[in-house]
Amino acid sequence: MLYRGTANFLHHAVPFIRDGLDAGEPVLVLTAVSRIDALRAELRGDAGQVQFADMAQAGSNPARIIPLWQEFIDRGSKDGRPVRGIGEPIWPERSPAELAECQWHESLLNLAIDPATPIWLLCPYDASALEAGVVAEAHRSHPLVTEGDHRRESGAFRGLGGSAEPFSVPLPAAPLGCRSLAFGPADLATVRATVAAFAAQAGLKAERKDELIAAAHEVACNSVQHGGGGGELRLWRDHRSVICEFSDHGRVDDPMIGRRRPSARSAGGRGLWLANHMCDLVQIRTLPQGTVVRLHKRL
């Protein structure tokens, strides 16, 4: 859904929410606090029936959004009842890396939710504030587009078959001359110590540094176990984050990796889930020559 400014957002979102409430459907809205406030004011007494969450918190790392929808669907549509939601993960202040992950999230959402699930999901894009390229990508990741009062099929939609394509688009190269370390099965302690030293030097405080180390260790373990026995660690920082990259020769077949809440009984598959909850952003790409995982921890 393309809109221009808050009034236009309300023009689309309020009837969508009211239709759901009238039909007795659970409604979840994930967007910015300012839009939640505007919706509450407009919905008045009915706002209490709507579940709201601040996307800047809940979806700061966009890889945490799909599990939220999944839980909402599991809770809300037990008896086959339809549910509906509004999710707005993209805003102009997103960094380029965050934006890339949000766009990947939007495409992956097509695969994450079984097409037979009775859910209406509205994805608002503020066309008055976002760059044209962001709006163009939204046309590739969404089957239907609403603009003004017209709903149409998106001719640019890459289809369900193509929705995993962004998973194998390479990330921008790591900066030349960054700290790097080749590691094998016996080097996990060295990996942790290297990340710890770099993070401390960059100014990450104790608790956040330890969170990054915990995530980095799990990703390094994945390289050892599934990536050909080891890999290469690279560390650098930009003006907002410490970035910790692992590359190896393994391939990841499941683009949903790190986005399925592990059950108490499942054996593996916790490393990247943990990374997504210990880091501000996790970028995973799998290419013919191997897999890259990039952890971002804000300074």
Partner: protein, 153 residues
């Protein structure tokens, strides 16, 4: 927590000595050479280059100092399970665990799955990050695993 007086056999080997030069990560709330107040340590029951596990008082307890990860998680699980057959809760003092990864935590989970209501596993002094990790990965509410309120944060 039990308080024991007049207990003299406190082993004092250089448990944390070798760790100091290499690194110190994910320190527990009460890291250092001493276990938490109220605990007394006995003989080591497991030692490797990154971890020492000792018998303790309160009876049927174990204290951990060092690192638990993929390198020793299987051995830790075996050590825990070997102490389960006594029909009592197994109390673990974890304040000096400097680092544990998911496979290390899984060792506790595997042992907890072998435990029953009488010999469940109780984690004491669990560092706050580990407590969060256990919750995030979905192991916080296992029936055989109890996190004592003496754990940090």
């Amino acid at each position: 927590m039990q308080k024991i007086f007049g207990f003299a056999w406190r082993g004092k080997s250089g448990v944390t000595q070798w760790e100091k030069g290499t690194m110190s990560l994910l320190k527990g709330a009460a890291s250092g050479e001493q276990p938490m107040a109220g605990w007394l340590e006995g003989e080591p029951m497991y030692t490797d280059r990154q971890l020492v596990i000792r018998h303790t008082v309160p009876t049927n307890g174990l204290s951990f100092a060092g690192t638990i990860d993929v390198m020793n998680a299987d051995q830790v699980a075996s050590a825990l399970i070997s102490q389960l057959d006594q029909g009592l809760p197994l109390h673990l003092e974890l304040s000096r665990v400097e680092f544990s990864d998911v496979s290390g935590i899984r060792a506790f989970v595997l042992a907890a799955e072998c435990a029953d209501a009488r010999n469940r596993i109780v984690l004491h002094g669990l560092p706050s990050l580990l407590q969060r990790v256990i919750t995030v990965v979905g192991w916080a509410d296992l029936p055989g695993l109890e996190i004592c309120s003496c754990s940090a944060g």
